[in-house]
Symmetry: C2
Subunit: 554 residues, 2 copies
């Protein structure tokens, strides 16, 4: 039998995983990897950290070379080689050597497209100024490092995951960083209250944050680039980072007539096959099944890319034993200075936009036993299907243990667990590692209390003066971080003796530092005939725990 010819377009995450898995499954396949850039299989998620010097040596980011891939996997890797056309009927791919300009047609039996996604560069005035950078590969990284210097002013457009990583790393280089975001919050995939801690951490570290404002034009000058925002404000930059998102590199697929999704991603089935059965695709360029809410999704992350590449190789070589890709959940995490925040699954705002029937709750606790040294506060929000109780998403923010909670909850989402199931997760507990009732259990309890009608929650404090707002914190805390004047302080321990101070004919909202005592108070009041809601997540949920007391209002 003739050896199978595999062509792979793109030699990073998805393509590299596909090629490696294919080789493990078939020693005699002819596997050729076409890579436009000079590098294959590099650690693109590490790029910002080398810019800031946190990853000291560049070498560690170049995970493999064409030579090492040939040694290890018998791959024919062609760098500086661009795929420019697919002859689907003829089963061949046209490639061009970007150094020599030479073109040739390479035959394939199966083709894998894993070209990735490009940073967006909108056609704004001045966009071509060489001081405006995007970050995709090692060469972009090198250019930014060459251009960046301590004391310079950097403007970062887009406060998503990469924007925040770059803000921290450029700050580490001694630059003055200004961060611009079109949405009224950093990390737009998260619900706004869950980003407040990140926001204050950025500002505390000297990053100037401009929210609800977008870039309108660049005004390149001799000494600097003026970044003109929609508001009219102009920020002066010696260096600009554009991190406003990515678009799939699907031009080749489009030209070949493969089916694309609404946002230009290649549509694939559960085995990563495109609309042409001989062509597979994986990574940032594809859209797959959404694993949480029925529909399609594109999650441009390394994890899904790697696993999709593997699924495609299995489908080619394992026959009936191949298992489908179950879809993507969308799990993301970011650290900015000391603060960490992340999300898995759907946010409240996405569900709200879809008019999906959901409920949510926010809880606070320490990341490990509060009596063990080093306990740090954390905030966890979960959203679930209001009809079935099924977990749809989770967001967490704090200082430590955020990744752990996201991972557990991502697993719970994948397993179609309900909020009831979260109550009974049996997580590892010793004082340095957790609590006997982990914050995830607490979130499950709070959700079930809500489901069972034991407590009503409010996410914002009412401004209607008819509502009685009761602060049930102890007096020292209430005095140190006073709530607004309209709030009555009745410490929880004295609440039962002071019910007479409240009017049963007017609604009550209880509040406290973390949302726990306010829940206790709501239970006492509800059982005494009051119409009461607990302020979900407490006063500290939405602000830096190092400067508590600020109140979000509706």
């Amino acid at each position: 039998m003739k050896p199978l010819k595999l062509l792979v377009v793109g030699g990073v995450a998805g393509g590299a995983s596909f090629a490696a898995r294919a080789r493990r499954l078939c020693e005699d396949a002819e596997i050729t990897v076409i890579e436009r850039g000079p590098d294959v299989s590099f650690a693109n998620c590490g790029l910002p950290y080398h810019i800031g010097g946190e990853i000291a040596t560049r070498d560690v980011l170049a995970v493999q070379t064409p030579a090492s891939l040939n040694d290890l996997l018998k791959l024919d890797v062609r760098t500086h080689c661009e795929a420019i056309d697919i002859d689907r009927r003829g089963l061949r791919l046209q490639v061009r050597n970007t150094a020599t300009g030479e073109c040739e047609w390479l035959p394939y039996d199966k083709l894998m497209l894993s070209p990735g996604a490009s940073p967006l560069r909108p056609p704004l005035p001045g966009i071509d100024d060489p001081r405006i950078f995007t970050l995709r590969n090692l060469q972009d990284m090198d250019r930014i490092i060459a251009a960046a210097d301590a004391g310079m002013r950097a403007v970062i457009i887009g406060a998503g995951f990469i924007g925040l990583e770059m803000a921290e790393q450029l700050q580490r280089r001694g630059m003055k960083v200004q961060l611009v975001e079109l949405m009224p919050q950093v990390i737009p995939p998260l619900d706004a209250p869950m980003t407040a801690l990140l926001d204050s951490e950025l500002r505390r570290n000297g990053v100037e944050v401009f929210l609800g404002d977008g870039i309108r034009a660049f005004r390149p000058g001799d000494s600097h680039v003026g970044c003109e925002l929609n508001s009219g404000a102009v920020l002066d930059a010696d260096l600009v980072i554009l991190s406003i998102g990515v678009k799939p590199d699907s031009d080749l697929a489009r030209k070949a007539g493969l089916e694309l999704g609404a946002r230009g991603h290649i549509v694939v089935d559960a085995f990563q096959r495109t609309s042409d059965a001989n062509i597979y695709a994986a990574g940032d360029v594809v859209e797959t099944q959404d694993r949480v809410v029925p529909g399609r999704t594109a999650v441009p992350m390394g994890g899904p890319a790697n696993r999709q590449g593997r699924v495609a190789a299995d489908h080619i070589f394992l026959g009936d034993k191949a298992r489908p890709y179950p879809g993507s959940i969308g799990t993301g995490i970011v650290r900015a200075f000391d603060v960490v925040a992340g999300i898995t699954g759907w946010s409240e705002k996405r569900l709200r936009a879809l008019q999906y029937p959901f409920a949510s709750v926010t809880v606070n606790d320490s990341h490990h036993a509060s009596y063990y040294p080093g306990a740090k506060p954390m905030t966890l929000k979960i959203v679930w299907d209001a009809r079935t109780g099924r977990l749809l998403g989770a967001q967490a923010t704090g200082f430590e243990g955020i990744d752990k909670r996201l991972d557990v909850l991502s697993t719970a989402i994948a397993a179609h667990m309900t909020v009831e199931d979260l109550c009974h997760l049996e997580l590892a507990y010793a004082p340095p590692f957790g609590s006997a009732k982990d914050i995830i259990n607490l979130a499950g309890f709070a959700a079930c209390n809500r489901r069972d009608g034991l407590v009503k929650h409010t996410e914002t404090l009412p401004t209607d003066p008819a509502v009685q707002i009761v602060d049930v914190r102890g007096k020292p805390l209430a005095d140190a971080y006073p709530a607004p004047a309209t709030v009555l302080n009745i410490p929880f321990a004295t609440l039962r003796a002071n019910l007479g101070k409240l009017d049963k004919n007017r609604p009550v909202v209880t509040l406290c530092a973390f949302g726990k005592m306010s829940y206790f108070a709501a239970r006492v009041l509800a059982q005494n005939g009051f119409d009461v809601s607990s302020f979900s997540g407490g006063l500290k949920a939405n602000v830096d725990p190092r400067s508590p007391g600020k109140l979000p209002t509706a």
Copy 2:
């Protein structure tokens, strides 16, 4: 309607959670908590850490007092009060004030038994010497602190979770620690290879470890206690800690004729009801459904206790809305100095003893992206049902991120996930937090490879000279940490060119540092017609990564 009278025996984890939840569900219930000791709701898991000074102040361990519980929860807490008899027909409990000796009968509508478990104190010669301690409560802790002094010799009998915590903490106090364990390994619930790193960490820190040896007698002398072991060895101790396990405090239940399990635990149903519908039980004293393998189990940990107390209160007050306790998984974690190890679900040896059809695999990886500073090695073993692929247990050891992996895998077990599902967990990834393919994904991949017949694993190196053992590590590593003389070194990159050096008629075992290259090599050899197995987990799996190269042999 007359208020419901609830009596609670035991005011720590299970009992305290029951009482607190009951109060939240019912303001007017009369709730009385009977506690033998002077403290309620104290942080018993923190005791060892205060002995070593890691938790500096004692106060933080006394989470609540009778007065605070009255303020917060309107509980009538009676400390120094022992429950001595249940009149089931008369619905009353006899209690004795341990200070005055006075007895009285208290009526109940519902009774909760949560007395906990006592440290085992076998009737050995000399056992009553006052220098022999167990650790259950704050008073035990105080006594140990009063008796312990730098320079003293401590003998710890039992190298389970508490034994290891005590070994570290007594070492912190400057004591000379000797640790004795009847089983041939520390932390007997784990499979032996997964404890090797803990073992070497204890020794590296100066703890003398005596395995496969038990205590036969104590020989109290004037200056010290001689601890006579089964082997005949005698260890001199100024202070002895007995940490060989616990037994349920079920005498009261036994006397009342409640159904007990084979090991003396109170048998409860899924709503924590004992064989008497008016009596509930929770915590270390009960046995519940095993959540992994059909049968009964007792997991003496804080997490299950707290949640069981809650389930019981829900059953009394929530009617149809009450949800059952789903059973216990058994999740445990321990830190000794810099090393962490833990387990969730069933171990290989327990499954083997049950003749349960299982399979297992061990993988190694970094706890986060290897190119990001501070990456630490970790080893993960999973066991699954060989027929269905369902995950039955996991063990992990390393330095950081152990709790995270155990928590994810405990969640996967609770969700009845299979090894296939582990491949597609979408865990939070940024370089400081994980890898694009997390070690959990890798374990799933390895398990599926085994399921699909792509690779055979061996856990031990064969001693049969007919087997060709091939070390596929690079030459520098193989030279630095040589494998035994019988091993042939063929670096993986040169394997395809050197197939002629191997005899196709003799079996081959491939080995490497971490079990990954040996798997790659096994794939190459299998496809070239060899009968080959990969040494699961690699050379470093079973030894301290700081002194690699030791080989376990069969």
